[in-house]
Symmetry: C2
Subunit: 235 residues, 2 copies
């Protein structure tokens, strides 16, 4: 089943943006009468039918508006310092979108490898993953901000900082309370500086371990995301 | 801390294989007296010191032989049909090695996208991940075999088949018993055929869900791997 992303989706006739029009008419060779699924990225799915297969502005008819099943009832946010290799950050964004996440916050810190991020490109990666996994909501991505600004932002829920330190024995899976909103900070390749960890603690972030395994930055971010989702799915 | 993989590691003087010699002498420019960590891929780590920095056959002195911490006390195996894009299978192998896995079995099935696999290349990916995450054990990878042969192999532990079906309500995280050996079958992009699921059930595999999210093959495999590790890590 093909899935298309139409941010302006609504019941009735809708004109597809040029990129999606081209994709379904030129690439997928869809024609009048063809059926597909549509997500608006805001929480709703529709049944779609091709009405006018124009390669630059296809018109589709949307019916059966319904809420997606990907509403887990809590707010899951991961903050991450973009990795040296962009593909690793993009891989995290794809997998987190599949597994389920509400918001990704990018930050720069003392040991950050990257000081700039292509948020538009990152959004495309998440939109593609949203369609592939037939999700109704596109996770929000918040552009780079300095770590000291990030930790001062208000957040209504549990706040953790995943930190590789022998003194940090308590694990996210034991500290996180099922159903609660949660924000997890994932360090850069060089990890957080001691000052950054102290600053985070001052602002209510609880240091936590993600387990014994030594994980890459992007793996740690996916593991944190899946840990929260799994705890909420367990009986 | 640099980590090298020496399958023949032992206490005392050891000659590095050509590839690792080249890597540490030519690429990392290590010289006499430089120190590093060594894994033998069989469960042990060593402290290493460069004795003779020859680019094709470097000699190192190994001391402080110790068991790695990555002995989780149960056997975790994932069987997967290689994905259409090799990089996705390789990504799974890298992440599973970081998170922790004992054996990966490759299989071909009715909807398989690939009928051949470059096991040597896959091993290199896992060896690299083992070094990066300072693991003492290199996961074993078993070359492609037909699905009907795979499900008939004896396995001492819980056996699951992750299957995307609305009738499969029970989740791996609820069915798996902490501490037990486990083998999870992950379907190809086109999922398992009904006949394959029936055959697996006949041979003791329990159908399970990995949650509500619709996951790509390689994501499902990583999620299954992390689910088992997390349940064993939880208090």
């Amino acid at each position: 089943m093909n899935v298309f992303y139409l941010p302006d989706a609504d019941l009735g006739l809708v004109t597809m943006p040029e990129e999606e029009s081209k994709h379904c008419v030129k690439v997928l060779r869809m024609s009048e009468g063809d059926r597909f699924c549509v997500t608006d990225g805001k929480g709703y799915l529709y049944d779609g039918e091709m009405v006018e297969a124009l390669p630059k502005r296809a018109t589709v008819n949307l019916t059966n508006k319904r809420k997606g099943y990907d509403h887990w009832g809590f707010n899951l946010e991961i903050a991450i310092a973009p990795t040296k290799l962009n593909e690793r950050t993009e891989w995290f964004l794809e997998k987190a979108t599949e597994i389920g996440i509400d918001r990704v916050r990018l930050f720069t810190s003392y040991h950050s490898e990257r000081r700039a991020a292509n948020v538009e490109r990152f959004e495309k990666v998440m939109a593609s993953a949203m369609k592939q996994s037939i999700k109704s909501r596109l996770p929000e991505i918040v552009d780079l901000m300095p770590f000291d600004k990030l930790v001062k932002l208000p957040f209504d829920g549990q706040k953790f900082i995943a930190w590789i330190d022998d003194n940090v024995k308590e694990q996210l899976c034991d500290l996180y309370h099922k159903g609660e909103n949660v924000l997890v900070l994932i360090g850069p390749e060089g990890d957080f500086s001691l000052e950054e960890v102290e600053l985070a603690k001052e602002h209510g972030f609880v240091p936590c371990s993600l387990g014994d395994a030594r994980l890459r930055t992007e793996t740690a971010a996916v593991v944190a995301c899946h840990t929260v989702q799994l705890i909420n799915q367990m009986k």
